[in-house]
């Protein structure tokens, strides 16, 4: 049986220190590697906010992995080498505590989490500088536009985002109604979000943004897309029966393509928009309304572009 007793008064336990250093170094290397993998666990970054969130996440994964591997490694090692022999009923070393050690392992985590808190607040402030996220002051009579702060090379909007049970509708300043959210690349899009019934969550994983849309308030939200493509927009806040169907796409395209789309759509007639819940509900009614009671879906919004829910999406 390996003795794990730290050497007592007789000088520095050289071997122990070497082992600890080696273990720490390999833990650090491995954790660094995991923190790099962490970028790959997220959808493609497609907004100005994404790199900040991703870097913070990677940092946390790195620190977390270091702690996780360190602690579990220690447990495994103890279980392998500090096992009692069969029939050995004797006691282990009666170490009751060590004030230096206890203070150390209170102070070090304190410093680590405060660094994380600092970094999190810093990123949080940066994100809101990239795009203001505030409640519009509807009652005070302030124009919604006063909440829009400039600072990027171009702004579009405000685009109205209307959430319902269970569909999304986007209304552009030129009056175009759409079931899909089209955005020009590299311009800050400003939204004016509202809900007609319950709380919905505006969630575009590729943009790393999520905002609850609370009925009764109008919320300003901004984001700058940085990568062309087609991305999923999902309802992240449970909103009732067909909540899981409540998704649509965000299409990020070059300024020219976007303007062409806007012009083309303005000329299109209004048709019922994307509302997968309605289709499912009608199917259910056809089967004799089985299942538990549910709120009937709101009628599909009338839109110029009903979108294409079956197109392949990037993330």
């Amino acid at each position: 049986m390996t003795s794990t007793t730290p050497k007592g008064k007789s000088g520095w336990p050289i071997r122990l220190i070497a082992v600890i250093l080696l273990a720490t170094a390999s833990d650090a290397l491995l954790s660094y590697q995991v923190s790099q993998w962490a970028y790959g666990w997220l959808p493609v970054p497609a907004s100005t906010a994404a790199p900040y969130v991703d870097d913070l996440f990677s940092l946390e994964v790195g620190i977390g992995a270091f702690i996780f591997f360190g602690c579990t490694g220690f447990i495994l090692w103890s279980v392998l080498f500090n096992r009692a022999e069969k029939y050995d009923e004797s006691d282990g070393l009666p170490i009751e505590g060590n004030n230096t050690l206890e203070v150390t392992w209170t102070v070090i985590p304190f410093i680590i989490v405060m660094i994380l808190a600092y970094q999190a607040i810093h990123v949080s402030e940066t994100l809101s500088a990239l795009g203001p996220k505030v409640k519009y002051d509807v009652e005070g009579g302030l124009s919604p536009d006063t909440a829009v702060v400039t600072g990027v090379r171009a702004d579009i909007g405000p685009i109205d985002v209307i959430a319902r049970q269970w569909s999304w509708e986007f209304i552009y300043p030129n009056g175009v109604h759409s079931s899909e959210l089209h955005l020009p690349l590299d311009q800050r899009a400003n939204f004016r979000m509202s809900s007609e019934d319950v709380i919905h969550g505006f969630f575009v994983p590729a943009f790393r943004l999520k905002q609850d849309i609370v009925p009764g308030s109008v919320i300003s939200y901004s984001i700058t897309p940085t990568r062309e493509g087609r991305y999923r927009l999902r309802d992240s806040q449970f909103s009732g029966a067909y909540f899981s169907q409540n998704q649509t796409d965000v299409v990020v395209e070059s300024e020219d393509v976007f303007n062409a789309w806007l012009k083309q759509s303005a000329a299109n007639p209004l048709v019922p928009g994307l509302s997968p819940g309605t289709a499912l509900y009608n199917e259910r009614l056809a089967k004799g309304n089985k299942g538990w009671a549910t709120v009937p879906p709101a009628p599909p919004p009338m839109v110029n572009d009903p979108g294409n829910p079956d197109a392949p999406h990037d993330a």
Partner: protein, 562 residues
């Protein structure tokens, strides 16, 4: 000085109901003996673990394929709501009260709880609200289906317009559960403060007692907020008020504050006693004193305090202003510190120990490893920018199941095996126990680990169907869930057959230190009765050669002869 004086009047608590039967039938009576009540809680809540588990199996069956094809989406919503509610209010809280009933009096040398009748009444409220909750499956609109957090306005939508509906019953059940918990909390706190054995100062109490005390204090502070919120919700739902109804000028986000002001601390109500169980068991099975006992004990109350001021981290994307987010990022991060103190203390206890890998110890070590992971993802969720991406996705589901099942559940299994001989008088079968552990560990890992990636990749929680890119993670998760279902078979077999015909347990089969181990197995009705030992040293004196109580030999002999 913290030593309480021996007060014979307090220790002379009322006796069990005279004439209560002395066989298995007593578990079906209004019995006031804390040990009987403890086993009542345990049995009932394990039954509801199976009920909640079956609901989960149907959910995982639905989620094994992307489209919503097994059950109607409305049924799925009812299932997940009831699953969450059953697991929390009918499994976790009651089973922890089971531990409290069995362990608090025996560990502190009290004959019973301070208010035995209140104790029994608190228990019998559990089957009552269970019936209220489950009967909602049979009301016209079906059970509540707004999730266990029941956010308005979804929860106050009432499509059929019936007065008696699932949501109504849900609120009623939650309120009754709150009443039961408050009754329990008053009892446990009073018992701990007033009824300790002579010589048992606060810093001679086992850590389980500390953690139970800290946890029950949280109940007392937090529950009124939840109950208040629930009553307002009931008024909005049934009487047309507008506390939270936006059309009437109400604020739905206000409900979230009421809800999380209690429900964040509630996670510590559940996890603290499990930290206690870990601390008790790691010492016995490493044969070492608990490293930094006082730090660990005090950390429980620091967690209680901090737990009360972090709730807004559940609302980072609900329209919470920046300054408020910043404050709650900091408080949330702080809570990792006392929690970390505990984890490191357990590691310090393992160091140089004589570790015995019995079934309870396996569950403890598995639970600690899982808790480290669950704690780390908790920190990630506490940093607002990352939470804004992963909040309300499967990442959160992964995080809280790592804590709520892979840590708390593991701790509960560990505790059941460890104290099984004490309270049933029989040994469990080690082989079956180990099979149970291995199946549970693998099943739990398969079930919840992949959910982290599904969530990071953008899969929202609470969905009945999902995009095909999430399929692989969900298939693995479903396999894990079914494996967990299978894992319950050796467990049930073990408990039932060991209790019926297992080997007779000695008074102290683990050679453990603690007042409960100085009692015969199973302990007699009033534990030590009038002959309460005087505690003369700190708990966990492994290897120190100091007796725990005065005349220790006498008590050991007596417990063995019984």
């Amino acid at each position: 000085m913290t030593t309480t004086k021996y007060d014979p009047r307090v220790l002379k608590a009322p006796h069990p109901v005279p004439g209560a039967p002395d066989n298995w039938k007593r578990f079906f009576t209004f019995n006031t003996d804390a040990k009987v009540i403890g086993i009542q809680y345990m049995g009932l809540s394990l039954f509801f673990l199976l009920v909640g588990g079956l609901l989960a199996m149907v959910m995982r069956g639905e989620l094994i394929t992307p489209p919503s094809d097994l059950v109607d989406p409305t049924v799925y919503n009812g299932l997940y709501t009831m699953h969450g509610t059953v697991m929390l209010f009918l499994f976790l809280f009651p089973i922890l009260n089971g531990f409290n009933n069995l362990l608090i009096p025996t560990m502190i040398g009290a004959p019973d709880m301070a208010f035995p009748k209140v104790n029994a009444a608190a228990f019998w409220l559990v089957p009552v609200f269970a019936v209220v909750l489950l009967s909602s499956f049979f009301v016209p609109g079906g059970p509540a289906s707004a999730g266990w957090w029941s956010y308005p306005p979804v929860s106050i939508q009432n499509p059929l317009g019936h007065f008696l509906n699932g949501e109504f019953l849900w609120i009623l059940a939650v309120a009754l559960s709150g009443i039961s918990s408050i009754m329990g909390a008053i009892n446990f706190v009073t018992t701990i403060i007033r009824m300790r054995a002579p010589g048992m100062g606060f810093f001679r109490m086992p850590v389980f007692v500390w953690t139970a005390w800290a946890a029950q204090t949280l109940q007392l502070v937090g529950l009124p907020a939840l109950t208040g919120g629930a009553i307002m919700l009931l008024f909005d739902l049934s009487f047309g008020t507008s506390f939270f109804r936006p059309e009437g000028g109400g604020d739905p986000v206000l409900y979230q504050h009421f809800f999380w002001f209690y429900s964040h601390p509630a996670v510590y109500v559940m996890v603290l006693p499990v930290f206690g169980i870990f601390s008790e068991l790691i010492t016995v099975y490493s044969r070492k004193p608990l490293f930094g006992y006082k730090f660990v004990a005090i950390a429980s109350f620091i967690i209680t305090f901090l737990g009360l001021i972090v709730w807004v981290h559940h609302m980072f994307y609900s329209g919470t202003p920046q300054w408020m987010r910043n404050i709650f990022i900091v408080t949330t991060m702080l809570i990792a510190v006392p929690t970390g103190v505990k984890v490191f203390a357990w590691l310090g206890t393992l160091w140089g120990g004589k570790i015995r890998l019995t079934t309870p110890m396996l569950f403890v070590l598995g639970g600690v490893v899982n808790f480290i992971l669950g704690g780390i993802t908790g920190i990630m969720l506490g940093t607002a920018p990352v939470d804004i991406h992963v909040g309300n996705t499967y990442f959160v589901v992964a995080h809280f199941h790592y804590v709520i099942f892979n840590t708390i559940g593991f701790g509960i299994f560990a505790g059941i095996y460890h104290w099984f001989p004490k309270f049933t008088g029989r040994m469990y079968y080690e082989g079956l126990g180990k099979i149970h552990f291995v199946l549970t560990f693998i099943g739990a890992t398969l079930n919840w680990l992949p959910m982290h990636w599904a969530g990071l990749y953008g899969m929202p929680r609470r969905v009945a169907s999902y995009d095909p890119e999430f399929a692989i993670w969900n298939v693995i998760a479903s396999i894990g869930a079914f494996m967990l279902g299978v894992a319950s078979i050796p467990f049930i077999l073990n408990i039932v057959s060991s209790w019926a015909r297992g080997a007779k347990a000695s008074a102290n089969p683990w050679n453990a230190i603690g007042l409960e181990w100085l009692l015969p197995s199973p302990p007699p009705a009033e534990n030590f009765e009038d002959d309460v030992p005087t505690v003369i040293s700190e708990p966990y004196g492994y290897g120190l050669g100091k007796p725990l109580v005065k005349d220790e030999e006498y008590y050991i002999r007596r417990s063995m002869e019984a």
